[in-house]
Amino acid sequence: MQQDFILITLADDDEDDRLFFTDAFDELKINTVVNTVNNGKELLSFLNHPETVLPNIIFLDLNMPILNGIDCLKEIKLNDKFKDIAIAIYSTSSSEKDIENTFVLGANIYIKKPSNFNELKKILADVVTINWQYHTNGLNKDNFLLRM
């Protein structure tokens, strides 16, 4: 049977941000199971751990110490095992070049981080809902590009 929840992994070095995100996910209508990691390196070791159940979607902060979002994205895209995971990048940057570059490198979703919580909630609800459609309707993930 198809699962009726979305597995989310969130990679962000800022504790307040992690809290905002997990709170926002909690309020969604779609059931979510969220786990968080503090940086890119942790994310990769989590994904590569043999007992990890892979998430349906990863939210990736672009600016992280140790291993930043872009390098993480490149690593993830190199491994065929992760090809079904949707990648959502978020950043404060709204430079067209940055955005297009993350898509070209294989990101599915680009979120310009909003300044207030309600807006963040709305954006995350939209992202998770559209991802749900991809997840449940067999849409082609290679063509999944979304900019919020």
Binding site: M1, Q2, K29, I30, E100, F103, V104, L105, G106, Y110, T129, I130, W132, Q133, T136, N137, G138, L139, N140, N143, L145, L146, R147, M148
Partner: protein, 188 residues
Amino acid sequence: MKVFIKFDFNSICKKVLEEKLEEHQLKHKVLGFGEIEFLEKISEEKLNAFSNTLLPYGIEIVENQKAILIQKIKDVIMDMIFNESTNINVKSSVYLADKLGHSYGYLSNLFSEVTYTSIENFIIIQKIEYTKQLIINNQLSLTEIAFKLNYSSVAHLSSQFKNTTGITPSAFQRIIKKRREIATKNIN
């Protein structure tokens, strides 16, 4: 060498089903629109085994009545959009209600409740999905795609594409092209 392929979901599904039904020696009739009638009684064990061989293809046996109706709504919509020989002169709401024998209000409420999106939105998502496929195949111009998908104008299609995905059709095309260039480079 690189080639582009296009495929027809309905034919693929039918073919897989026929083959698997054959393989499991189940006497059956395919009724279309995702319905199969078994012509003899089948043990739960046999049905489970059959169901399991379908899972890798993304095909599953739907169990409860609500889920069945939702699936039928989706199938009718997909057929409306992807199948060129299905010609519809009425509004999609009228067509759905007529085809499925329930009021549109009922279908629409049920759909929103279970899928977290509205029928209208689902139709848009699917049309944009089809547009993406056609853009990538490179055979039709955006104007031709707009005509094919019954948009009143290319501007209407473009703005719906931008509203749904956050990017323009030309940016989409550019990104996919660049991705392919990188992928080709990595192979060589």
